[in-house]
């Protein structure tokens, strides 16, 4: 059972409602970073996107899609693993992973929200963007999947999933008098924990688990299609963009989930609820995903090296030997290093949290670099007409906005952890049997 903490006359588990000095500092730090990001974005709104380093392709030799789109791809990708792990652990009754199902769901919801925000930040007219995508949506455009399918499908489904999965626990904590009791009662929404209600609840969760995975696979595949269907841009066109996106999404998502799980474990005083078996499972999943991601990266490298079309070859030269080479080789090296760390642990059958976290950080950084290489070089160095090669590197405005997005995501997760038990209070292993 979870750790219970006495706070101002109330008994809430897992440190919920207890704001320590460290937490205050964390919240303040995140608010400051998010505030600085907001300041940078407001400059962008008032002066136009001229304040970024993005520019047009062709005669301007720039990249109209810059760091923001890279982060959209990254954040939406990270969301993939969380909800899939939560759903898979329910459907296949992987008991070891059930304690982290809420962490996984929270990671998905947080990264989806931040990813969607990054989409809006990248628009020339964000408000008009939301309105017009509702009024004039064209599902034929992959952008529809990037935004509408994620905003109107995956995010609400993930929120419902998080909400329903935690409703039983909300009813438990709502019985404890605290400052958060009203919120917990609202969340429980009259849940009475009768046998019939429990059964109905579990059935809904089971079918939601079954349904949410194909939904997120379809939505996230369109992220890859945004690039894959562009016949006029060397380096992008290809049927592998969709699967490649999903594989890298799985690797980066699992890596982030593993790091977040380690942080939560530490916050809860190295609780036994998140034991070595959790990390063993996550490590195994990450090993498979990272191996697949590295496989895709190597296949891509070989294809580029042997590419016959002139423009593809020129792009390959730029990636392998040109101005993007350092990012390209660093991303492969980081992914390979992360994979080796995981392989060593798999070989010795000793899954240790420290090396797992290190491997996760390496793999997540490699995935981010890979997203950068997918988005940027094809804009600056792959024009079919003989324009001069261009260049792009984000400036402080873009870095500040992105740092703000990370801080916002961290703030969201931090607030949740302080408002609600991050680990399920009850095990959920009877789900399948009942369903």
């Amino acid at each position: 059972m979870a750790v219970a903490t006495q706070t101002s006359g109330s008994l809430l588990p897992q440190g919920v409602g207890r704001i320590t000095r460290t937490w205050r500092l964390f919240f303040l730090g995140m608010i400051l970073i998010a505030g600085f990001g907001l300041y940078a974005y407001l400059r962008e709104v008032s002066s136009g996107m001229i304040v970024t380093n993005m520019r047009d392709t062709g005669t301007m030799g720039g990249a109209p899609w810059g760091l923001y789109v890279v982060m959209v791809e990254y954040f939406i990708g990270v969301s993939f693993a969380g909800i899939v792990i939560a759903a898979v652990s329910r459907v296949f009754r992987i008991r070891e992973l059930q304690p982290i199902s809420r962490i996984a769901e929270l990671l998905t919801v947080g990264s989806l929200m931040v990813g969607l925000l990054a989409v809006l930040i990248d628009l020339g007219h964000p408000i008009r963007g939301v309105v017009n995508m509702l009024l004039y949506a064209r599902p034929q455009s992959p952008f529809f999947g990037t935004f509408m399918l994620v905003a109107m499908g995956v995010l609400p489904a993930s929120l419902v999933y998080l909400y329903l999965g935690a409703r039983q626990d909300a009813a438990v904590v709502a019985e404890q008098p605290s400052r958060l009791q009203r919120l917990h009662r609202l969340w429980a929404a009259g849940y009475s924990d009768t046998e019939a209600e429990r059964l109905r609840h579990r059935k809904v969760m089971f079918w939601l688990s079954v349904g949410i995975v194909p939904l997120i696979v379809v939505a996230l595949s369109t992220e890859g299609l945004v690039f894959g269907i562009q016949v006029g841009r060397p380096g992008w066109f290809g049927s592998l963009q969709g699967p490649d996106f999903l594989v890298l999404a799985a690797a980066s998502g699992l890596a982030n989930l593993l790091v977040l799980t380690a942080i939560v474990r530490r916050l809860l005083g190295n609780t036994d609820r998140i034991g070595p078996s959790v990390f063993k499972w996550l490590g195994r999943f990450l090993l498979v995903a990272a191996a697949a991601a590295l496989y895709f990266m190597i296949v891509e490298l070989i294809t580029l090296m042997y590419a016959t079309p002139e423009h593809e070859r020129l792009l390959a030269d730029e990636l392998i030997r040109g101005s993007y080479a350092w990012i390209f080789w660093v991303s492969i090296a980081l992914m390979a290093a992360g994979l080796v760390l995981l392989l060593v642990q798999a070989g010795t059958r000793r899954w240790q949290i420290g090396p797992l976290v290190l491997a996760s950080v390496l793999i997540s950084t490699a995935a981010l670099a890979e997203r950068y290489l997918t988005v940027i070089p094809s804009q600056t160095h792959a024009t079919l007409l003989p324009y001069e090669p261009g260049s792009y590197f984000p400036n402080w405005i873009e870095f500040a906005v992105v740092a703000g997005l990370f801080a916002l995501g961290a703030l969201l997760i931090g607030l949740f952890i302080k408002a609600f038990p991050i680990l399920p209070l009850t095990d959920d292993e009877e789900v399948i049997a009942d369903a």
Partner: protein
């Protein structure tokens, strides 16, 4: 219904870029923005070099990739062949810009008041005032503010709003008055021919009966309505020279 096309005769083009200037004046485009760009190419090694030119307006493709990817239908194809942008509907995602293999789209990175060469030219200079008559940009062609076509959409307003995409409109505001686009009207050697290819009596149809046209990046399957005669398609051995200053 007329079907508009443009023919570019590369045997006549002398790379003077008068079309580029005419376009900028007619459509009030900002600094670094060239709806009509003329490539100046150099081929070979000195002294065995050869220059060639390639005017590049929007190709107004029949199978336009920019139209396909627009998430809100702001980029659309008209019955008469023009590919236009509804500036009132565009959300500024720049997806059309990346879908286009010709690089003809430009995003308005800042407000038009700031992008009309304000920082590179001293418009108050006395010598300059003799030429401009004391007028200070941004100049504004009032025709760009009107709605056009059966759809009655804002399709001509180049550079009138921050945060949207713009490109060559074939000067829709002139075409609807029965006039030629500004670039065609200005070309000193008649290298640009514009008209209705569905009408067998139009000058462009006569031209196409005599000369065999080719299209830019035909392999992309975009079916451009801009056709070229003479010269040859660009290839990676061509080196672009005298690139216009294209910074905003």
């Amino acid at each position: 219904m007329a079907k508009y096309s443009m023919v570019v005769d590369l045997d006549l083009c002398q790379g003077c870029r008068a079309c580029t200037e005419a376009c900028k004046i007619e459509n009030n485009t900002g600094s670094g923005i060239f709806w009509m760009h003329v490539f100046r190419f150099e081929e070979g090694e000195y002294p065995e070099t050869k220059m060639s030119f390639l005017p590049r307006p929007c190709q107004h493709c029949d199978n336009a990739p920019c139209v396909k990817v627009c998430p809100v239908g702001a980029r659309f194809k008209r019955e008469d062949g023009l590919v236009l942008t509804d500036f009132d509907r565009c959300i500024g995602c720049r997806y059309c810009e990346l879908a286009c293999p010709y690089g003809v789209n430009y995003f308005t990175w800042q407000s038009p008041e700031k992008s009309h060469y304000q920082d590179v030219v001293d418009w108050e200079d006395d010598d300059l005032a003799l030429v401009t008559g004391g007028l200070v940009p941004p100049y504004k062609n009032p025709d760009l503010d009107l709605k056009y076509g059966e759809e009655q959409r804002y399709t001509a307003g180049g550079n009138h709003a921050k945060g949207v995409i713009e490109k060559c409109t074939f000067c829709v505001q002139r075409v609807e008055k029965g006039m030629n686009p500004a670039c065609v009207e200005t070309c000193p050697v008649n290298a640009l021919i514009f008209g209705d290819t569905d009408s067998p009596d139009s000058p462009i149809s006569h031209y196409l009966r005599v000369r065999q046209p080719w299209r830019l990046l035909e392999e992309a399957g975009t079916h451009p309505r801009v056709m070229y005669v003479g010269g040859k398609p660009p290839n990676p051995s061509l080196k672009e020279i005298e690139r216009p200053k294209a910074e905003v």
